[in-house]
Point group: D2
Chain length 501, copies 4
């Protein structure tokens, strides 16, 4: 813990900050207390929001390429603090070191992407049908953006949203998960350092963080001064947030649950498929929104695949995520463990056959850490439990005979985040990514459903929320669009050739 | 009426269709019955939706450029029927002939635009950070689209939505306003003729129309099989529809109320401004969502402007919209008239001075037609009634001293649809369309707030709904986006340089 | 010939036009004289160009969507005249009926595409680094465009260029090949009819055609008043035109020779490959710039492929292209036949083995028609003659052992137009279209090198010219780009933070 | 000079490098020898080019976002060396310190822009007209790029080209002007340091510099292994390079002469105009390609403008560019001085009236430095000399009466690089940037013709070359485009509905 204190201090935490508060942060590894954080009072939220709005009026006037400079500085701070923030992520969420570092790298990547974007927030110039007229479309800053994140990507998801928001001219208010606020704070402090270097071109209140429980998020969701709410979490949460924001005519980016499948065809390279199953189903202890939850395998290669997968599972090292070589850390908390057990039971009740895993391990070393053997259940069909997202390393196996059937299974769940196919056959592959293929926001080929790069748009359809963040033109959601028709003639012709009076 | 019957028949109506139903359609001109339409039973809506879904499975597989051919044919049908449909619009909604024709022309325009789009539904190819990988983003058909429209654009708004939806691979279900179903039906029948020419590549159920009251719309809004609901109407309606669709993770395009202003600066060409005020405030009897509702005029030119505007108002010919030369037809119904009277009273109670208009006219000739003199009220400040959208030819005048103040007035209403400035000064003009300017979806220069071309994105911010239709990249809302990362190497590197196992 | 006269008349030719001139047009089918056309005097070229320039000054001011209407009308005329123009193409060039019709259809397609483009000639709005500044990029009309085409696509290539040029605001001057002027004239006359319907918004001289020999083309290439020369033809021609245009700082679109290959891998569907070989190598009697000239086949499937290809060649019906069922018409002239014979000799001298074909046939029926049996030559390596484009149905077969080698063969020719791979293996396919794959402008998968759709950019690299026409953003070449930095502040800050004085 | 030696050493020069060669580099300030550089032997050029080609084969396979990392590192090196490289630019070219620094800043800016681009080298996905087909367009690395630059932007122009080329996957060969090789070398050495940090992912030969005279450039221009030549310099040079590259079917980016005008209308803010004249005509001693060469002023404000301009000219401090406060440094060499004198004479012979300036000054202090008083000549009309680019601080004044006339004067020169208008009247401003306005590649409003930001496309029309570099989609020129039509069905339908056999 002394070491962890040093890490926090290097990340800019003052001792009082992590020792004198009412919010207890525990490590999922051993249940030890990592910090006692002060909570943001709910009744201060209006002031927080007002500060953000005031900052907006200044920040929107700062030219976008200058705003890009702030994000560049943030990227440098993240680069410099990569080891430390990665360590905090591991301690607080239980991710293995490599994944903790990878998460911070995503922040670095998005800052660089956003820096480039700062000169590319392109609208269109458009030819008018009227002489002496022209049309153009501009994208302008939108206003304060609330970023409400989940425990499983406590650093990267904030970076994704804030880098784009800041470049687009929007202040941010960050509400990290109460289960992983330290990682968020460390990422936020890197931004604060960048702001300090950036100097007085950044208005007070440009970036704010609020620490605490759901009521803080509710205040953000309900405020008419927050034109955009970006919320990552469960479908249950999205079903509440979506209508609330809609009822006040706000915009939202929802990144909710996934139920991500891999189709393995007879033409698959099974070795690659096995490795992708491993990283997909077991990485982050199955607690990514993009974790692999279903393998849909062709009957002819099922046995071969399962044999290899099980062998690979047998070699998995479960343990302290900070120890190099361990690939599976603990679940986030006891609730996660209980939910997994319940799903396992239901799955078996629905006809599933537990092929391996599911048991708690390392209970002696870590009586308060919920380490679990990744489980595989062979299902006779896609029953109710399979359509339900269990946030744990629990993989269902489904069997198919022809590809259309496999695609139907892939699509026949309420969620629509990610999916993939393993096949070397181009007809199979192209069908899967065609309009008749996967209905997910992401459909990959010969790589797993998880581990997206930041260059593409990230997000999914159906109960996943329908929105996108990160790359492509996701930045447009952080801006308001204005269509300008400009008449520089001395006439006043009407569109559609109308003659009025 | 005999003549009208011929028009309907030329548009493809069969006698029974418009004589034997429970829904009475009256002309706002004289209250005469135009038709008795059969209503779609609410309990048939599920079948309608199922047919649409079945059509989707076929239609999405038809290549987009082939789908474009259908829209081309529809454009030709609309072109051929322009006079007749325009006439129906005039009879049913009370628009003057020129505006009725202009509305059909919008349909022709959007069909041509959509035809071009059919080969330009461009996603992106994206460089991957990993060797032997590439990323691409495709846009695929989305599913059935419900198009729920208002009485004031009974033809064009359906055409806008349906032309894009059909090209994007989506079947449509059209629910026209119960106040103006004939125009919608006539437009729809043109589409049916196009489908007949297009032949059997169009699946049964590709385009359907349902006639009746709100419960039909509710069935569409609530169905999980309708991934996109495009609804045009009041903010009140949007406040209901938005959350309902959000709660089932559907998508929506909301085009709701506007409260559109014109800023007239000392550098304005007053002649042009006057003409734009006229078309903006009085055209369609003030019943466009983009109608001009507020003039924000600089104190130094206020008198000069008002003098000219009042003179122009004095020359307005009010009367039967089918008579050439008349510029102001009737309000849609008595409710509209009553609401206008109430707003006039409130405005005066709030300190406004009625400069002219507001009275009902032609009562003798048309005892059941609500013709009204367009009203102008000079307001001491932007009071509550001014922030409220009254769907009638009622124009408020506000006075300003410096441009920042005028822009603040422009923005200080709940709606955010359209706006404009009249000025020849480029610094004023550019400020108005800048990030510090109008917060509306449309901000025009030296043309009124209404009468958009179809090439730009149409729609507005805040209580207007936040969505866009028609031009630019509005088509993306009618498709689902899929991000594909494709690994064609024999390795399985992870993003962000992660090393797993 | 009476029938042909009727066709010409229906296409708008007056009798004097095709009977009283010095330019003799013969049919390659039987050498019969199709027309005697009047030639444009070289010394009138300056007047032609001046008229075009004058037309430009008017046409550029016509709004793009209005220009789109002209192209729409042209498309309708082409649609109406499809049978007749297709017939002329067959008579004049020797294409089979289906190909003649397909060529006209390309004209229809590009007109529709250009119609859509007329509202989508999008430049960009760009955020400036300076407060109170904005940047935008507009595309403006460029000026007169010379379109110089080859005999083999006497209708479509003009349509491709003219449809885009006209929508972009540019007048056109069309110089068809002296070997196929009738098809060009017929296509041009359809445009003239469209212009007549379009009315006086089209300036005199908007579209002009000049008939005759090379000096006419030279006048266009050398004129400083022609900012863009679009020339289709041989690499030899391009090597002259390119530098000439460059020396006067003009722009050019060169579509020159191709030497298009198909790679057939062990994972290919051989039936599909055979059919693609047939259409690719034999269609248009091998006289497309995209005709298949080389098959690069894996050693393991070579025999199987060649057996099927030879069988298919054996069933080819050679004969009058107007007779339904015939698939191979005559070569364009005796010169083409002689060149083919010479290439066959050289190929054999270089070690090639003539597998079949090469002989003249139907000499008795058509003593002046050069019908030839499509030839296949198996080459031991890619010798000099293989790297040379022979414009005839002469297919070389090359053998490979691993895919990298096949790609190297594909690329190791001076031309870079089109190419394709037949394989169901996605790793092979993706490699072929990757940066390490084909270096051609077009690289297709499981379709032949020829028969492009108009939605993509058409053209090739290296000696093919490097330019593009038709779809994607090829239209940008027909416009001039202007970057506008607009300062609407009252300050004058410099870029890069420079402080001057 | 000791100090300068330290600067060079800090920039990575070794003593031998700048003391032991045959190429003498002198400072235009005082004619002192700055360095003796070793020249690249002409007969080594083939080896240089071969190395570049070999590097290409490796570099193109490095994923673009990884290539972006190299450019990021280069940007950091430039940022760190900004003062030193800026100093070298001042010493070697005679720019004032602020401009030297600004030039390096452009390098930093373009590196950041290119970093963002590395994930945004977007091609398009395109819907096919055929079932089971899709089309996409990819941009792939092109090959070695030769960057031949002029003395006046010895650092930035290389950075512009190399940053884009490297991100696009192309090696670079840099040939700096023999008049300013040290600045180029210093910029190049920063790149070398970045490459060293980047490590072995960068192939040997990725970036090379060749030092010497024209024959080196010729070798690059003529080599078939250099697909893209980017050359900045005189129109005379472009007239040679363009055809040479065209004759071997290479691509080129030519940035040639400009003859940039400012229109000052009666609605101009004269204070701003005066400041823009000053920076435009006098900055860099009039030796920017975008320097202001012509003021086209409305008769009614001519006197007022000239009075202020002359007053401002009177306050200009001419002298050692390294001395803070000096705004005008020396001309590059005696030849430039002589050319200016000759133009002054001709201008007067053609009726011009020398208003002020033109004399050599500071001859005593700097007998070998050619400092000159910026000259203003009032011309009765746009005579031949005015249409000629004189690369010196020589400003012509032309008078106009109506704006169309002014625009005609603006356009009636052979060059087409940059232009601007000063006016607060939006009708004037918009006319100037419309299709009927300036025919230049850049048309600015209320800022001078020079000092572009890197976000827009930079370059000009007519004798300026017609190409673009820097922002917008200029990167496309550094890549090759490939159109891929992919058939994943089991059928082989042909485009345009053709039925073959």
């Amino acid at each position: 813990m002394t070491q962890f204190k040093s890490v926090l201090e290097r990340c800019g935490f003052k001792t009082a900050e992590f020792t004198e508060g009412s919010l207890t942060v525990r490590s999922p590894i051993d249940g030890s207390i990592l910090a006692q954080l002060q909570e943001t009072p709910v009744d201060s939220m209006q002031a927080v929001i007002n500060r953000s709005h005031a900052a907006f009026l200044t920040w929107r006037m700062v030219p976008a390429p200058v705003r890009g400079e702030l994000v560049r500085l943030w990227g440098e701070e993240l680069r410099a603090a990569k080891q430390d923030i990665g360590h905090i992520v591991s301690m607080e969420v239980g991710k293995i070191v490599e994944e903790g570092l990878g998460e911070v790298q995503e922040g670095v990547d998005i800052c660089e992407f956003a820096l480039g974007l700062s000169r590319q927030l392109h609208g269109k110039t458009i030819a008018s049908e009227r002489p002496g007229h022209r049309i153009m479309e501009q994208f302008h800053p939108l206003g304060p953006v609330a970023v409400i994140t989940a425990f499983n990507f406590p650093s990267a998801v904030f970076a994704w949203n804030a880098a784009l928001a800041l470049v687009c001219g929007d202040p941010v208010i960050f509400k990290p998960s109460e289960k992983a606020p330290l990682s968020g704070l460390a990422t936020f402090k890197a931004l604060e350092r960048a702001i300090a270097k950036f100097g007085d071109r950044a208005p007070e209140g440009l970036a704010q963080i609020v620490v605490g429980l759901t009521p803080l998020a509710e205040a953000l969701v309900e405020s008419p001064k927050i034109p955009l709410v970006s919320a990552t979490g469960s479908t249950r949460m999205g079903r509440i947030v979506g209508p609330k924001v809609a009822s006040r005519f706000g915009k939202r980016i929802l990144e909710l649950g996934g139920n991500n499948a891999m189709i393995v065809t007879p033409a698959a390279d099974l070795d690659m498929a096995v490795r992708a199953v491993l990283f997909g189903a077991v990485g982050t202890a199955g607690q990514r929104c993009t974790s692999l939850r279903r393998v849909i395998v062709h009957r002819s290669v099922k046995d071969a695949l399962l044999e290899r997968v099980q062998k690979a599972y047998g070699n998995l090292r479960i343990g302290n995520p900070l120890t190099p070589g361990n690939l599976v850390g603990p679940l986030i908390d006891e609730g996660a463990f209980t939910a997994m057990q319940k799903s396992l039971e239901t799955a078996q009740a629905e006809g599933g056959k537990l092929l391996r895993g599911g048991k708690r391990v390392l209970e002696k070393e870590y009586p308060k850490g919920f380490f679990v053997e990744p489980a595989i259940v062979d299902m006779p069909s896609q029953t109710a439990i399979v359509k339900h997202e269990t946030f744990a390393p629990l993989l269902y196996v489904l069997t198919y005979d022809d590809l259309e059937e496999a695609i139907e299974l892939n699509n026949d769940v309420p969620q629509g985040l990610s999916s993939c196919i393993f096949s070397t056959n181009m007809q199979e592959v192209e069908l899967f990514i065609s309009q008749a293929g996967s209905d997910c926001g992401m459909a990959n080929v010969n790589i797993g459903p998880n581990g997206a790069e930041i260059g593409g748009a990230f997000g999914g359809e159906k109960e996943t929320g329908g929105d996108r963040e990160s790359g492509s033109d996701a930045w447009k959601q952080y801006m308001r669009r204005t269509t300008n028709t400009i008449n520089f003639s001395k006439e006043l012709p009407l569109a559609q050739g109308i003659n009025f009076g």
